[in-house]
Symmetry: C2
Amino acid sequence: MKLQVEQKLASKKINPTAMRILVLELLLQQNSAISLSDIEKGLETADRITIYRTLKTFEQNGLIHSIEDGTGTPKYALCVEDCSTHEHYDMHVHFYCNSCEETFCLPDHKIPDISLPTGFSPAEMNLIVKGICENCAQ
Amino acid sequence: MKLQVEQKLASKKINPTAMRILVLELLLQQNSAISLSDIEKGLETADRITIYRTLKTFEQNGLIHSIEDGTGTPKYALCVEDCSTHEHYDMHVHFYCNSCEETFCLPDHKIPDISLPTGFSPAEMNLIVKGICENCAQ
DNA sequence: ATAAGCCATGCAATGGTATTGCATTATTGT
DNA sequence: ACAATAATGCAATACCATTGCATGGCTTAT
Ligand SMILES: [Mn+2]
Ligand SMILES: [Mn+2]
Ligand SMILES: [Zn+2]
Ligand SMILES: [Zn+2]
């Protein structure tokens, strides 16, 4: 198990330090995206700044992607696609539940092509759908 | 001119105070969405908190809508649709220019229908396209 | 084995923003 | 003109992101 985690780090050329292993293990347990504060609460002995830089490193090396879900605080989730340094391919829909306030990746639901006015050239896209998630549906 | 502004406020049942007239006039001059700080800089004698509450009032009464463009600081723009209290119909695409860092409403470009996994029911949507705007295209 | 160098960590400090309470002032309707 | 109501300005609070700097641990070359 720990080996798998360390291999995952190594495959992204990230030095497997104790803190990074802990953060990655926590990320692997989630089924929704989590914030920096969530991680801080989920780990006993962890400095917020170190987690902050750990996440920056993870994101830069294509291990996780950051999600702006409209709450103002970024959420983080593992990349399912084969992302690399500064090359993220997470053009999928994200869902924010107004009830449980969780943010979900929907990697199987790609963002459709969007027509733009002439002169506008797109580079990235971010689509957030807000509503009620499957867990909160009665 | 001032009459038109006051009428616009009255049509949304907003008391036309001096500050509100100033803020609305400033909003009418823009061709891109602006932030609270932008408005604060654009007005000489203006308390940030008052502008903050002015924008909240405008938004609640369907005069402007708030845009989360991924920068973390909300931008505001006039509603083109006929929005009312707590009923916004701004399901259009927003464009953030990575060069000039301006946020544009594209009211003629609606967000297409998005298929979701079973159990997820959508309420609102927010689509941000990032890239280069027409002004910055060389 | 030892020393130097690199990398990661933790602490402190800074800056920005949103949000609320409360007292004062302005506006409205009678 | 007066009373009731609404808006404003100031202060305070609470988060959060971001950077500098000093320390410590691990790696590597000598
Ligand atoms: Mn995702
Ligand atoms: Mn808009
Ligand atoms: Zn939910
Ligand atoms: Zn531009």
